[in-house]
Structure formats: C-alpha cells, structure tokens
Amino acid sequence: MSSFTSIVKVSDYILSRPTLSKIVVPVAKTFCAYAGYREMGLKFNDLILEETPIMQKAISRLPPNESYARVYRNITAHQLSLSHELLPPNKAVKPEEDNHYLVPYILEAEKEAFERAELDNIEVTK
C-alpha cells in the first residue's frame, strides 16, 4: 500500500508545478465536491481506512476537541445513512472546512514506523 508520506510527496510536487497544478487542482476539487461525503457531514480525512496500526496511532494522538468532532461527524453520517437523508446545503461541510486535520498525525506515525523498520534491519559493516 502506498503510504501517506508518498501521497503527500506527490501532491507537493504537483502543487510546486504551476502548469500541472492548474490542471490537477480543479479536477481534485470537483471530484471531492461530487463525491458527496460533505453532504453526509464528513471531512475527507474521515474516509481514510482506519483499521491499521498507523491510523489507530494517529487517531489516538488527536487533540481531545478534534477527536470529539471526528466522532460526532461519524455519528452524523451514520444517522444520515440510516434515515436515507442528506444534510441540507447550509449544514453540509463547506469546502474550506474540509481540512486535512489528521494527515500530520498520520505522517508522524508513518515516520516512526519507517524508522523502526530501518533500525530493526540494521546491518553491520566492517
């Protein structure tokens, strides 16, 4: 599985190239808008598969208010799914609210895991 570290690297590269980002950024924004998760009260970071040790570590390190908000959004989405409804446009998550609140924590947890793998496989050179 590609790591978030590599995804962030690729997106940073795209953003650093004006021509490339002029094409990719609008596509990405449109994709997110049409994906529909914002009408379910979710942020993009809420959609990341959380059943991995790295995600568990990242989620456990969220500040208490972020963690509460994440759980609240999840419950909202569940309720909406149950009742087959969507949030009205004024209550849906706005694009500017859809921040990457979890990504820094994922990156830190991945960095630790990569470092551990490196040190676990250290070799002696004589």
Binding site: E118, L119, D120, I122, E123, V124, T125, K126
Partner: protein
C-alpha cells in the same frame, strides 16, 4: 561501524576520543604469602573507601543437607560488627565465603590486621560471638529470600537443575537446617576449608600494595593444606512449581545448562544472554529497545519484567531467563516467544544483534565493578574458582573476538534441543508442563 547515517553525528571527533582510551588500567598486583595464601590488590586513586577481605572456597556447595547454611552462618558470625571505623561484613555464595572489612583509606592497615586476626584464629571469635543471635539473623535472611518471589524462583531453579548434588543447596540454608547448626559444625568447616591454597586475600582502594602485603604477612597465620576437591555436579532437566494464587503475579524462570567460569565459551554465553538483555514494561524506554523479543512482548504487555542471565559456577552454570508476568493468561505466549527467539540463536541470529550484545556485555562487565568491594570480590572469586583472573583488558579482548559464528555454534551445542529446567511460583496455572517447553527448544523446520 554501523552502516547508514546512524552514527555520523556522534562521531565527529573520534581522534580526540581515542586519546581517552589510552589511559592506563591499574594492574592487579599479586603476592603469595609464606603460608601459601594468595594476596591480590588493585589500587584506585579515586576510591574513598578501601575494602580488604579474606575469601575462601567453601559455600553451600561444600555442605550437606543437614549442615546446609553452616558456611554462611560461620562468616556472618565472624564478621558483622563495626570496630573503630572498620565495618566488618560477610559475603556468601554457592562456592565461596568471605569476611570483608571496609574502611576509609587511612585506616586500611588496621582493617588488614583485623581481618588477619579473625582469619588466624576464628575459633576464638566464634566462641565469643552470640551464635544464637547469628542463627536467628540468618534464618530471617533465608525467610526474606523465600518471601521475595523473583529471587526465590531462581534459588529453586538451581535446586531443581542440580538436584542430588550439593550445588543444589540454597546458599543461606533453610530455617530448619540453620536452627540445627552448632559451633562444632563451624569449626569443622573452617578446619577443612580455611587452608593456605584455598584462601585469597583481596583488596581494592587507595593504599600502598607493599605495606598491605607486609601487614597481612605479619598478622595472618593460616595452616598449609590442599584445597578440598569439589565434586562435579550434573544438570538434570526438570521442573519445580509452587502455585500460589494469592500472589499478584506469576514468577517464572527457565534455563538450560550454562557455562562454568573455566569454560572457553564463558563470554560467548554472556553475550548470548545480552542479545535478549533485560526488559521492564513500565520503563519509558521499553518500546524503543533493540531485542526482537522486547518488541514482541512490549506490544501486547505479555510480561512485566524479564532478565536474561548467564550464571557460572566453577564447573557448570545456568543460562536462561527470569520473568514476572501479571498478564497470567498469556504466560505461554511469553515462554513461547522467548524460546523461539532462543532458537534463532542457533540458526538466524544477525551480526547486528551480536555486535550490540558484545558492547553491552563489555559495559555491564565494567559497570559491575562499581565499588571497591565489588572489585575485591571479583578478583578473589575468579582466583579461587579459576586459579587466576584474566585482566579486564584481556576480558574485553576476548569479548571483542566473539563472532556471530561463535554464538551460533555455542547455541547449537548448548541450547538447541537441550534439556531445560523450569521454576515457577505465583499464579502459574497457565504455565504449561515440562514437555511442552522442552519441545520448544528446537524447531522442526525454519
């Protein structure tokens, strides 16, 4: 050197560091007194306390089950007082006993005279002393050891491993055996064991070697005689369990036969035990430690604490672990993972692990010599059990020379598919039986 960027930052000024290594190690000075007693001293200009002691070969291994505890009782009766700034204490192991005097440096000749006086005429001191008081103290110490489960399992491990031999006897004796001891038993012990070739006077501190030798030579009279022969002990695969559900945890020790002090593989066994090292789940560093075993047990909290040891007697030893486990439903997980890691010693241990263990063995060896008492004790025991003591520099060179191949060869000969001894107390319902773990000492395929 370790590959990668790992060490670059710390290694800027290696040239200057090399200068630090070139500092001299104080050599141990030896002398033999006219009565055959070896005297060994090591001086340290920074020592605030000087230690001089008289060691002799005896210990619980020289006893019978009915006289068990007599050597510990004898030395603790002889040396337990404070005499004009000289503190007399005793030390007992399975194979040696000692009366030790500690004092400030200016007082060291007084201490030497005092030790010599006691060593020359122990019967007089024994008769003057309150034997009943010493007995009650020793019984209290033995009871204290039985009440300290992590130490108790080790004593029982030893007892089961060498059952049928005097090496199995507990160092301090048991309350039953101690209470039956008499003055004549002490005298008989000293008669047999306090003889010239079986005595070492060792000292460490800040003093003049020659003056000390002269003082001991003038005051110490010990009769000539031969060192009593030690009957070899043999290791028996076995287990001893004392289940006690009122205790808060399970205490488990498991070992294979280890190396004696004279074994060529003495340091290899120590390095092998350092590959797994010690672990304390509650330490802030627990989750960062190098041993693979530590990473495994840390993540699931299947052990509170473990230590790996390589204990050496004169002709044999024990090599294994001692663990405290509060997660009593996963005792088998811990033992299983540990034995599988032990298996790796024979087949797939890596150079990096061995190099780390070698460095840690060296530091542990040096750090153990942290007081003048520890230094004198190390010198004396080595000389008694081995006949000589390799200098620290030589020991370090021997450790440096160990290769991964040596560790593998040792593990294949000493661990792979070998008998083990298991000892446990506390909540050990989950500790499986002997055959289960005996099978764990090898793998069918890997």
């Amino acid at each position: 050197m370790i590959r990668g960027s790992t060490f670059k930052s710390g290694m800027k000024s290696v040239a200057a560091a090399k200068r630090a290594i070139a500092t001299a190690t104080t050599p141990t000075k030896y002398a033999t007194l006219s009565n055959g007693v070896t005297i060994a001293t090591e001086t340290n200009p920074h020592a605030k306390v000087s230690t001089i002691g008289l060691w002799f070969g005896a210990g619980s291994r020289s006893e019978h089950s009915y006289s068990n505890g007599i050597s510990a009782l004898t030395v603790s009766t002889l040396a337990s007082t404070l005499e004009d700034g000289v503190l007399l204490t005793s030390q007992s192991t399975k194979e040696t006993n000692a009366i030790i005097a500690q004092t400030t440096n200016d007082n060291v000749l007084e201490a030497a005279k005092l030790i010599s006086k006691i060593g020359s005429n122990p019967s007089e001191y024994l008769e003057k002393a309150d034997l009943a008081l010493s007995k009650s103290q020793l019984i209290a110490q033995a009871a204290q050891l039985e009440a300290t489960p992590d130490k108790m399992v080790l004593e029982h491990l030893n007892a089961s491993a060498f059952q049928g031999y005097s090496l199995a006897l507990p160092t301090l004796g048991t309350s039953e055996s101690i209470s039956g001891l008499q003055l004549q038993d002490s005298e008989r012990l000293l008669e047999r064991h306090l003889v010239g070739s079986n005595v070492v006077v060792a000292a460490s501190g800040n003093f003049d070697h020659n003056q000390l030798v002269e003082a001991v030579e003038a005051a110490l009279s010990i009769k000539q005689g031969h060192k009593p022969a030690v009957k070899p002990a043999s290791f028996l695969g076995s287990e001893v369990k004392m289940r006690d559900d009122t205790m808060p945890k399970a205490y488990v020790a498991l070992a294979a036969q280890g190396e004696g002090v004279s074994s060529p593989a003495y340091y290899v066994a120590q390095v092998a035990s350092k590959i797994f090292n010690d672990f304390d789940h509650h330490s802030a560093f627990a989750k960062f430690q190098s041993p693979k075993l530590a990473s495994q047990v840390q993540e699931y909290h299947i052990v509170d604490k473990y230590t790996h040891f390589s204990t050496s007697y004169s002709d044999t030893g024990l090599w294994g672990f001692n663990a405290e486990i509060s997660n009593i439903y996963q005792i088998d997980d811990f033992v299983h993972f540990t034995l599988k890691q032990w298996n790796r010693l024979s087949i797939s241990i890596t150079d990096a692990e061995v190099e780390r263990a070698k460095q840690q063995t060296k530091t542990a060896l040096l750090a153990g010599l942290n007081s003048t008492e520890a230094i004198a004790s190390d010198i004396a025991k080595k000389v008694l059990l081995l006949g000589y003591r390799t200098s620290i520099r030589e020991s370090l060179e021997k450790i440096d020379a160990i290769t991964t191949k040596d560790v593998r060869a040792w593990a294949q000969a000493a661990l792979w598919d070998k008998d083990i001894v298991i000892s446990g107390t506390g909540q050990i319902e989950g500790l499986m039986d002997y055959n289960r773990w005996r099978n764990g000492m090898a793998m069918m395929r890997w």
